[in-house]
Structures are given as C-alpha cells and as structure tokens.
Amino acid sequence: MTYQPQNLIPRRDPAMVMKLARLGSFHQSRLSFMRILTRRMTRENWTFSRPVFEIDDQGVGHAVFCAHTGERTYSLVAFAHDLPADKRSDRVIAEAWDSTFTLFDGVPTADDIARLARNVPLQEAGRVTERELSVSRANRSVRLWEHVVSHLAAGTQPDTTEIAKVGYLMRTTAVYGSGKLGAADREQIAERPEFSAPFQVEMLSVYLTRVYVRDLVQHMANQRGGAKAATLAPEIARSMGIGNSTGLGMAPFLLNHPKLLNNWIMAREEAIARVRSLATARPADAKLFRELLARSVVSAKIWHSEHEIQRDKLVELRRDLDVLVARTRSSDLVGNYPWDHLYGWAETHLGVDAQECLASLMLEPYGDLVDPLTDGMSDADYSAFRIKGAMTLAHVSKILADRYHWVSGIDWAAAQNCARLWYVSEEKLEPRLGERFEEPLADYEQPLAPGRDAAALQTVIAGLDQGATVAEFLSKHPEHRCSMRRIQMAEHAPYAEIRDNTIGSDLLPIDMLRCKLSFFGATHFDPRSDRWVRICLFGNAPFPEELQHAKSDDWAYPPREAQVV
C-alpha cells in the first residue's frame, strides 16, 4: 500500500532498510501480528471455553479449545500423542509429533473430530477440508516438560531458573494455513475482520495451543501426583510462550510475496516516520518509552543463543542498549522533535540491532498513530500479478534505475556471488539451499535470485529499442517474464525487494527468517545454524482469563523483574 507524504520526516530509504543485515536485526513492534490479535481479543471481549478434554493418564487423546468472537467461534482441535524419543525432530521431514492440531471454523461435531483424528495426526500425509483453517504440530521441550511435570506432581512449583533457560514447554515445527493440505483458502476468510490482518489464523492457532500446553502439563502432573500435585502458578505459566522452530521455508516466502513484504515494511516505516515527525512528546509518552526501554534491556539479558553470530550480536545489542539508556537519562524526550533527534543520534552511535530496537520502541506510546496502519498490511491487490504489456522498455529502464540500481554493484558471474542456489527436495518438498558448484542441482533452481535476474534483464533490454513494449519484448523473451513481473510490481512498492544478493556465498538465511518472524512478534531469536532458528511466541502474553484485565498490550516486553539466567 502507499500513503500520501504528510510527515515532516520522510520514511527511511529502502536502499538502507532493505539490506539483509538490517532486516535480520528487526524487532517486534505494535504492528506485530500476535499483538494485533491480542489487542482485538481484549477490545472485542472474546470469550474462551474448553468443551472437550479427553486425554488419558498416558497423555494420549484429544481436546477442543474454543475462541468465541461474538460473531463466530473458532476451535483448536488438539491431538495428544505418545511419541517415542527417537521420532522427535523439528525438521519438515519428521513424520510424527508429540501433539498435532487444526483450527476448525466453528464448533466441531463428534463426526468432525472422528474425521480429523484420521487425518490431522498424519499432517502432510493427511487431508483436511475447507472447514479447517490451519494444520500444525508441536514437540515438547524434553528437558523442561519432565522438569515441570515432576515438580508439580511432587507438590512443588518448577524452578523458574530452568523455565527461563528454555522459555516454553512445546515448540511448533510447522503451522500451515492458506489452503495447505486442503484447508480453506485465505481468500475465503480474508473478509472477516478478525482475519483481515496477516497470519491471524496462524497466530490464533498458536495462542490456543499455548492454553492446551498449559492444561496438558497440569493434567500429566495430576495423573502422576494425584492429590498431592500442585497447580502451576499463574505467573510461571504466563512467563512461558510457545516455542517455534523455523527453517528455510520462510525465506522463499518473503521472496515469493514481494507486495506483502512491501506492505509490512511500509506500515512500519510509515509508523516510524509519523513518530519522528512529532514536534513534542507528552511526559507520559516519554515515561512509557523509558519503562519499555528498561524492559527491553531485561529482554536482551534473558535472550540466549549458542550461535556465534547471534552471541556477537547480543553482546553489541546489550552494550548499545545501556548506551541508549544513558542517553535518554540526559534528555527530557519532550521537546524539539524528540524522537527524530534520538533516532538520528542512534544512527551514528548504535549498531543496527539497537537502532531497530529503538525504532520499534518509539512507536509504543502512539497506538493512535500506529495501530491503524495494520489495516494496510495484507495484500489483496491481485491485479499486481498482471503484466503491464503496454509499458515501454524505456519505462522499465527507469524502474530499474530507481529500484534496482544496487544490482549493478554485484559481479553476478563471480563464483562467490552465485555460489548458492535454492531448490526443493523431493523429500517432503523441503526447501533447501545448495552449493551451485559442488552439487548437481542447477536444473532444480527456484527463481529466488531477483537481483541476478533483474541484472540479466537490464543487460538484454539495454540493447533494444526503448520504444518497444513489454508485450513485444516478452513474446520474444519469455524467460524474463518472472523478473519483469517483479520489476513492474516494485515500481509502486519501494520495500518489495530485498536489496541484497540472495545466492551469494555469504548469505545468512536466518536474516530473512528473523525479518518475517519479527513481524509475527517473535522474540529471543536463537539461530541453531545459518539456516534455522528457534524463537518464542506469546511469552508473557495474558491467558484467556487474563485478557480482559490487560491494561495494555505491551506483554512482548518481559516484566522488569524477569529472571536473568
């Protein structure tokens, strides 16, 4: 989407924003999809129920968790399994899980549940229908699960240090929506207000999964401990989120949905520009900012990763946040365009990670300016797919000059700049990244190097009559059709394209994963390699019975007293 320029301070330059190192340093914000959902649930007084909980003493069975919006009901149908340890894997290629789920549109009948019981536990090998909106699965954190069950069974609370080390009892390893495995297409539900923002089905499914996990761990402790079992303390339960293990599949998603990516980034950039354009801040706004900055410092302290890239980034982020705290002590943050001055200072004094943390934090006091931007974050503009055939090549050259000038700075023939390629494995269609010069994969390459392809197109059309039309050009050069579509899309979507090499030897796919996951609202990114990452969703979020007492939606920032381990 586009906005009329009305701010004193313009949106940040896409040439700066759309670099992988910056996208890979994004933080959650008011615009994150989880927070959009919890704000709506509170605002609209959603209610929740658990009509079915038929799980035996071995932890096998099923349960149903309903969210009632007022207009409609959505039900998470959860299947609990007894999974042998050697079958437990986060990979897409796994074939069994501790728990499997579907989000049902309405309240399922016994027949529906019987049908789902034959299919949902099989995940990709099963089929669902348009009554189902998502299909997902989760595995236990083996360590923490046993710790919590055994402590509660013995009548004591689990050790909060152990809880803080992991942060969740189960992690989802895939959440499929949008018509996957036979589920309803997004187009069927996109008109419903509760699903108009991106990924709301998936976020609702994960939110209800967190309730299921809390109830299941309590059930198992009760089975084991009988009358002496303790009830999990609400503040400990609340501190835990749902883990998520995300692999390479998310990276192609960003490249395959350029308009959607543009709309997400555009919303955040517009929000940043609006706040930077404020001439003054109210003292209460400055106070809230300082409070959430302090909680961001705590968040960075409890964020752990064994991965060396992330460890280094964390050291810098923690140091920078301390510098930022000191800076905000010496400024009243009230007059003279306070946010623009603070951000401008950060650009020259802090690393990229802390700059992005600050950019998200500045938005917090300004729900009235920021939250309406969520309306533009979906992509319902199906016409963007259609090639504009009457456009001249001169016009295409101008778009290339405006939006793709960065591609000429890369020598695409050099081995290190095309060392990688994206492909799909026949093994459960897992997306993978290969070494072009070491593995026989070139025939299987996916079109996920827009920079290289734009450079090739630019070279070809440079030698042609600039008055010729795109229709004429593509009738002779169908191999450039994919690239031409992107280039035409980018004309009115400045943040559509990642302005970096996506097939170079130094590519870090986790940068793309973090960008997407930050818009989900994820925190505590923990890369397990350069191409998969674990995160936590809904940590510290209110449970259903707590939603109506939530005074604000700043749960994504941990409490100041959160345990640092």
Partner: protein, 215 residues
Amino acid sequence: MTYSLNEVEALTKRAARGAGYTWGLAEEAGKAVRWLSSYGLDGAGALVALHARKNGSQEVDHGPDQLAGVWTSQSGVLCPITTGATLCDSALRIAEEGVQTAQIAYPMLIVPFAASAATRLGERVSLRWASVRIDVERDGLWIDDPKGEIGVPMVDTLQCGLSRGATGAPQPRQSRGEIDADVFAALNQFAHRTYAPSTEESRMRGAGAGVSDND
C-alpha cells in the same frame, strides 16, 4: 477429490515448470488453472492433455511470431498458455482491433487470460472458436457452448475482441477445485521433475541440520 484453489495453483505451477515452461509462464499456468477451477472447468485436465500431446511430438511452447495481423507460429500449433500470456499483455490490441489466431491447442486454457485482459480494460471481452462463445469480465464468465466444444483439443482459429452484449446468468463460482485422480497423478509427475533427488548430503547441509533438535 476437491482441493483448495491455492493447492490447485501451486501444483499446476510446479507441473507447468516441470513440463518446460519458463518460471514466468509457469506462474501464469498456475493462475489460469486456478481461475478455471473456480468456475468448475477442468483446466488441470486440459493442461495435462496439452503436455501429453506435446510429449508425443516436437511441439514446444509456441506463442505468436508477430503481434500484428493473425497470430501464427511458424513452428506449429499455438500453445494456449504462451499465447494467453501474450493476449493478456496485448490487452489494448483486443480493444483496438481484436485478435485472431491460427491453429491453437486447448483453447479453453486461454479463457482466464482473456478475463485478465478484460479486467485490465474494464470491459467485457468475448472469445469465439468453433461453435463456442465465451464472454468474460472482471468477475463474470458466460459460456454459450451448444455443441459441447469448450474442451476441444485443437481449433483452426480463435477470435478475441470486445463483447457487445451478454447472455443469461453468469457461471457460478466455487471455492474448491476438483481434479480427477489420474489428472492429479499426471500433474504430480510433471511437478516431480522440479524436485531435486534427496541425498544424505543435501539432507544434512541443505536445510542446516546437524544440531540436535530433540532436546
């Protein structure tokens, strides 16, 4: 079995790529078959039949050699996907002078492209071949097919121009795509050509495994 329209599109796109189209045309094939499915028309079956036919001959994915005059291909029969993409790219030509093609395979597959052109033009567009007359606009499809020739494998000529009037109630849309089991299997066979064989090396390196994920 019924499939979500996203499944229809994703599988068809992969199958079209496996059948030899460029990525850009494979995307068009996916969108086209999705559109036909949403009107209950068997675009997937037509696409599979088109490629079964191609495997038996030397025909490839020919679009028109020239955009002026009657659209013909020196190399043989026009492909409806390639020609359809060109038709949509040439929406203004439809409005200004109309388009006529020479021999073209499975003309039903060109209908979604005419619909896309109609949307671009903000007009209603008609297609005619044999006894078939199709009218399309942004969100409407009208079919007049007295002799059941909408699915014919080949016609000698096809005409496309602005429509002057429509006929009866538009075709109803549906939210699911129906694909016969044998067509589905054939699509999967084509699509499979785009999947790399799995090796232990790719299993370990390609997705960044190697760290325990069972903790």
